[in-house]
Amino acid sequence: MIIEIHNLHKKFGKNEVLKGVDLSIDEGRIYAILGPNGSGKTTLIKSILGMVIPDKGNISVLDKSIKKEWKYRKKIDYLPQIANFPPNIKVKELIHMIKDLRNSPSAEKELIQLFGLEPFLNKKLSTLSGGTKQKVNIVLTFMFDSPLIILDEPTTGLDPKALIRLKELIQKEKAQGKTILITTHIMQFVEEMADEILYLLEGEIYFKGSIKKLMEQTGQTNFEHAIAAITTSDSHA
């Protein structure tokens, strides 16, 4: 078990975002975390990363509780939702800086080539378009070799060519036995990539299982419809 979450609660003011999430993530699979807007996907991910501090409950990553810990983040590559970078530094400097801060071996050269970022290396981040920023974001995430990869909306702003590259990249990482968590609203992407679906609704895990199981439970033949139907059928996991 690479991640184990037990009875996770989080409130922002009066807004109860997570209401007792129990979850275990196995090694070497791709998980898609789905759910309507505001269902707590990002909060869940940020809790795993230690950016959000839970009110109650326990999270362990690689069999160790993450409470007051930070070294475990060396085992996680995280792609944040909106690529918010410091505006005044160059792409090259940013990559160099993150490398320096993490102090682990990295393979940024191939990735820069893969996404065709060479012409942008000497440009400031504030001058880049949304899609290019996302490519930089992807390079920063995938350049390290960590057993757990968390991707928050990885497809945002990507052109079809980059999207194909990203999918290949994710499959390659999976083949190396890595665990990958993805949140996205693109159902086609989920259908292609995910081994398992986690459906969050109102701060709880509403469904957990494979796409096949989801189709059977909802009685739908189309994946997109199955997801839409998930809340209406009594498929409570």
């Binding site: 959000v52 930070w70 475990y72 983040r73 060396k74 996680i76 970078f85 505006p87 801060l101």
Partner: protein, 260 residues
Amino acid sequence: MLKILKYSFYDLIRSRWSYVYFLFYLALGFVLLFLNNDVSKAVITLMNVIIVLIPLIGTIFGVMYFYNSREFTELLLAQPIKRSSIFMGQYFGVAGSLTLSLVLGLGIPFLLYGLLRSNAIFDFSLLLVTGAFLTFIFVGLSFVIAISNENKIKGFGYAVLLWLFLAVVYDGLFLMSLIVFEEYPLDTFSLVATMLNPIDLSRILILLKLDISALLGYTGAIFREFFGTDLGFLVSMAILFLWTLFPILSLGYKAKRKDF
């Protein structure tokens, strides 16, 4: 923490505002020295300027930097770095670069003027030391305000209010209470009240080291008795140090509990 400090520091050193700040002190130093032709007098004038200006610049710079580097901070939070290291690194980066601007900006003209041969060197170093303390105190306070307020406008407002209170309003209240309670012995009260405001404390500390303290009259005598001695000097330095420690500790406390 040192890596974060390094990046914050370089980031600021390269920014235009650090140069403006540095050049301002450089110009101020040269103008005062060559118009006054007297190091002691220049130190007094400088004190009046920097005792108000340093807290203001420290506060505004601190708040601005904190809010502007939010993206960077979030990027760092997902990296294997301790939370407190991120914020401490940024804090020391900002306070350190501001202090560097101050020390270099004032130090260069004074050195050129021949400070080392004058006996005002102690007064001058004291000025720089209190200036450094004030920078660290006010950058720290502004960081605490910024981390406690998501809303930039609010955070900025509170920070400026804090400066206004400590630099201006506090003195007014202090004077008024001296007048209202003039029938009572106020020696201890005024000593304590001075200690509670880092700006006042720095001002008195520098004034009493200069020869003009005789002008302060009777009250001055009490202050002189306290601050003029080695013990008083050490106590004041210790309190300035506590004033620096207080925002750093609260920043660490807040940073540990904040959600991003």
